[in-house]
């Protein structure tokens, strides 16, 4: 996915450098002291729940909102207060914002017309851009004759035709139906590799971010919680918010009894034996911490697993969610503890699955399959 081996990508300063960026509306900070760099050729995602400030951040990159504080450097130049029409970035709007009174070709050529490019060249480049987004031959259509997916392609072509240094995409897939959305993810990644332009995408859909982006910044309440590649974000979340927001997670609260040499021992109420985990970053002894465990990392068995050194707990299956390729078992381990989710691949037909409601089961996990979080 990464284009770093490509000869076209020049190494150098990061394409986007954001430091101490704030946007306040009265007392409310939509974006609060954000520091962020995006490298050339990255497919970068801003991920977070609605209202977390990701769209405001994107609009500040586009120049449609101006920051209250902090700086934005694009390709080394300070662009913090430069208006939208003089920035080398282009945007694909959530509503696509395709001009309804112009043909598809005129829409795509709009930015070039503004720049005073010669007529023939506008036509050639606009048609090229339409081919790129697989809309060749649609040039004379009017936007009201297009489907939602096609309008989005027009918006993409219109932004790409100006060869921006960075392409900004605001929830580009949210208005498409599920099947089309899946297909577009792959297409966007391919498109980004073809054009070699840095993409910054805003999304609230974690699976979208995980499947498309090379790096993801998770935001909450105007603050960046963690910036990491998808796998790192999933396996090593830095906070309970990130762990909970990305995928599904079991959060087991406990008190740190010992922490040394990369090993942590926690006493967790409701679980008889102390929970032992391995991790470089050690929480303070005596503090409260949370063991974050992904449902697919927990083993569920009828018998007590024989291997030594495992964390174990027993419980009763209370609920089963059937998801097709997997089933999620919700296991009650203690009366006042939240149910522990365990997902297990449905390797056999569901009529012959190993566990059913009210079955007593044993859960086990290794000491390296989860993380201990102290915030």
């Amino acid at each position: 996915m990464n284009t770093s081996g490509d000869a076209a990508t020049t190494r150098g300063a990061p394409i986007i450098e954001i430091s101490g960026l704030c946007k306040r509306f009265g007392d409310f900070a939509a974006v609060d002291k954000v520091d962020l760099t995006v490298e050339r050729g990255e497919f970068f995602a801003l991920l977070g729940p609605s209202g977390c400030g990701k769209t405001t951040l994107l609009r500040m990159l586009a120049g449609l909102d101006l920051p209250t504080e902090g700086t934005i450097r694009i390709d080394g130049q300070d662009m913090s207060l430069v208006p939208a029409n003089r920035r080398p970035v282009n945007m694909v709007f959530q509503s696509y914002a395709v001009f309804p009174h112009m043909t598809v070709l005129d829409n795509v050529g709009y930015g070039l017309r503004i720049d005073g490019v010669a007529k023939d060249e506008i036509r050639r480049r606009a048609e090229e851009a339409l081919d790129l987004v697989k809309l060749g031959g649609f040039g004379n259509r009017r936007p009201d004759q297009l489907s939602g997916g096609q309008r989005q392609r027009v918006a993409l072509a219109r932004a790409l035709v100006k060869r921006p240094k960075v392409l900004l995409l605001d929830e580009p897939l949210s208005a498409l139906d599920a099947k089309l959305r899946e297909a577009m993810r792959l297409e966007m990644v391919n498109l980004q590799e073809t054009v070699g332009i840095t993409f910054i995408i805003v999304t609230h859909d974690q699976s979208e971010a995980l499947s498309m982006a090379t790096r993801i910044a998770v935001m909450d309440a105007g603050v960046v919680q963690q910036i990491a590649p998808p796998a790192e974000l999933y396996e090593f979340p830095a906070s309970r918010f990130v762990a909970d927001f990305i995928g599904s997670v079991n959060m087991i609260e406990g008190r740190v009894e010992a922490a040394a040499n990369g090993r942590i021992r926690l006493a967790c109420p409701g679980i008889a034996a102390p929970v032992e985990m391995e991790q470089d970053r050690l929480p303070a002894v005596g503090s409260t911490a949370w063991v974050a465990l992904r449902p697919e990392k927990i083993d569920i068995t009828k018998e007590v697993p024989p291997e030594p050194g495992l964390n174990r707990v027993s419980g009763v299956v209370e609920e089963i969610t059937y998801l097709g390729e997997t089933s999620v078992y919700h296991v009650r381990v203690a009366p006042d503890l939240p149910l522990i989710k365990v997902s297990s691949a449905n390797l056999d037909r569901v009529t012959r699955r190993a566990f059913t409601w009210e079955d007593p089961v044993h859960l086990s996990w290794t000491s390296s399959c989860g993380v201990v979080l102290d915030r």
Partner: protein
């Protein structure tokens, strides 16, 4: 709608009243006036419908054609000024914070709550020689003179020996000012309706693609608010064309509009047939304007 069509008797019963009203008080009087336009005067008050076209022939006399031309010019200029003044007003209301919008719209339609005659007299009080406009200008003149004296330039009388009040009333300018004042809300309201529906992200997209504010306005805002511009222009142009109170009170001897001539035929000149012919010519002119608009709209893809 389907249910309405099925219950025919109820439909007719409800429709009958308004139909009867329109027939009796709109179409019949209009038909009578139309007949009068083909009549000849008999003596002082009587007239006879003879089918003569003399009234129309007289109405096409250069004297009256000039008045028609002048009326068209007044109405056209009024429409143009209303558009230029009304567009920023409508834009300002649309972009105002949502809680301010109802208040601002109320301010636009507030003049409707006062009688036209009173508003026109108020305008006279503003524009006349000893009026508020001249008072303001005189005040500015005095302040400027004081400032010049302070700068040591008082003795040169750079601004003239004394303040000369401007002749703002009883001329064509006064008529246009009055017409714009009266008709501006009819321009602002349809423009507001059109601009309010405009998706803001379209303007942002234009800016994002490199357009200046002005270019974005001309290439995106104006074309997309064309339905509002056309409605507003019609709503201003047609009543302005038939105005008679404004030119009567604010105009000079040479700023008479066609409606003033018509009024005189019906009242002082007591020549109803000729007045009727002029009225219908004015109506045909209005129809022509509407037809022109329809043709223009079809050429642009039927807005």
């Amino acid at each position: 709608m389907e249910d309405w069509r099925r219950g025919r008797s109820a439909f007719w019963l409800i429709g009958l009243g308004p139909t009867f009203w329109l027939l009796l008080f709109f179409l019949v009087p209009l038909a009578i006036v139309w007949l009068y336009s083909f009549a000849e005067l008999r003596g002082l008050v009587d007239m006879e419908v003879t089918g003569t076209l003399d009234n129309y022939a007289r109405a096409l006399d250069p004297l009256y054609l000039e008045v028609f031309g002048k009326s068209l010019a007044f109405a056209g200029i009024t429409t143009a000024i209303s558009l230029v003044v009304g567009f920023p007003v409508a834009l300002a209301i649309v972009f105002a914070p949502p809680r301010w919008r109802p208040v601002l719209l109320l301010l636009v339609i507030l003049p409707f709550w006062t009688n036209l005659l009173i508003r026109t007299y108020a305008l006279i009080a503003v524009l006349r020689v000893r009026g508020f406009a001249n008072f303001t200008l005189e005040w500015i003149w005095e302040q400027s003179n004081t400032l010049l004296s302070l700068l040591g330039l008082g003795s040169y009388q750079l601004l003239g020996e004394r303040f000369e009040p401007l002749e703002l009333l009883y001329n064509n300018t006064a008529v246009v000012i009055g017409l714009v004042y009266v008709h501006l809300p009819f321009m602002v309201l349809p423009l507001y309706a059109a601009l309010e529906k405009l998706d803001r992200s379209l303007i942002e997209a234009a800016l994002d693609l490199g357009a200046s504010q002005w270019r974005a306005f001309m290439t995106v805002v104006v074309p997309l608010s064309m339905p509002g511009i056309i409605s507003g222009a019609i709503l201003v142009f047609i009543p302005a064309l038939g105005s008679f109170l404004t030119p009567d009170l604010l105009g000079g001897t040479d700023s008479q509009m066609i409606a003033n001539v018509i009024e005189r035929q019906f009242k002082s000149a007591n020549d109803w047939p000729f007045g009727a012919a002029l009225s219908f010519l004015l109506m045909y002119l209005t129809f022509a304007a509407l037809a022109l608009r329809a043709v223009l709209a079809r050429g642009r893809g039927g807005i």
